[in-house]
Symmetry: C2
Amino acid sequence: MTEIKDKSVETFLGELASKQATPGGGSAAAVMGAQAAALVSMVCNLTLGKPKYAAVEADMQALLAESEALRVTLIGMIKADVDVFDKLMACYGLPKASDEEKAQRSAQIQWVLREATEVPLACAKACAKAVELSRVAAEKGNLGVISDAGVAVMAAYAGLKSAALNVHINAASLKDREFAEAKLAELQAIMQNADTEAEAIYQIVQGKL
Amino acid sequence: MTEIKDKSVETFLGELASKQATPGGGSAAAVMGAQAAALVSMVCNLTLGKPKYAAVEADMQALLAESEALRVTLIGMIKADVDVFDKLMACYGLPKASDEEKAQRSAQIQWVLREATEVPLACAKACAKAVELSRVAAEKGNLGVISDAGVAVMAAYAGLKSAALNVHINAASLKDREFAEAKLAELQAIMQNADTEAEAIYQIVQGKL
């Protein structure tokens, strides 16, 4: 089957809109995060090598290495979301006629739910990283493309808030509350101040227009 | 030349990251808006025909018609952004040796800047519409996919804030201040309460998880 990353933008959007279960919001979150990372890279690529920005050359090289690695990571997460969702659906489809079947089905669902909590949590972390990288782009990037740093931070923030919803849903279904609470605490730590930080970076950009 | 919508998601992200001038933040904003519209459609498509949601069948049909039209509009805006940017770059490349050439070049730049202000303004309006549609999806959609309404509102809001940056940049370069101020006033009206509205819709979704 063709991976989403290899489908056209229009096909992806069509499948997102359709009644098929995947791709859904989890993949959309990863795409937004990947757009954020890509825009940070764009700001770097249009700042590097310009005499006017020679002072930030090393910063931009380091930033570009991070944003490009993050873009690869987030592109991988588009598929990871689909895969874990499909796995979860397969578990829900398991037979549940006997008590033994019910117990086996429930155990498998619980096992996959752990992964279904960790996948969006990893996406949330990657998006939070994209917010962080957007700040450097906004502070040090070429003023001619500084608005792209502003788009980057909004895309990253939207990806973060979106992935957070999927962590919440799946954590809520987990019977292993210790595991669930640990994951929710990790999410909480990432979300802490994310809205004020995203808005602050956006304001940096707006102040430079 | 292949339109962005016809390129793979990965190719789009690669071009976004590259040093080529387009696609940039304007196209990314339109893609985010289109993702929002698509996710509203997804919620509709997974609510329609379900006996449990028979009471909102007509609402969901009407919402789906709007979200699908909006998705088409926003997909068109991916290209519109590239086109007007390319036109603007072509104007900046016009000869400016004589005073006459300078005057002609300046006049053409100013003419295209009007369009370059209107294109992201139209994108901002479409994204604001996507926020509005997300509210209906969040309030009335199938609880099993309600998180997708939450992702929709975040994508729509990010698209709106992103498009707004491009309106500001281009309006700032306009010599026709009456036109510029009128466009900025339109933007202002759209942005009014957008952040509290987006957060309120997100909270509706979170309250239902």
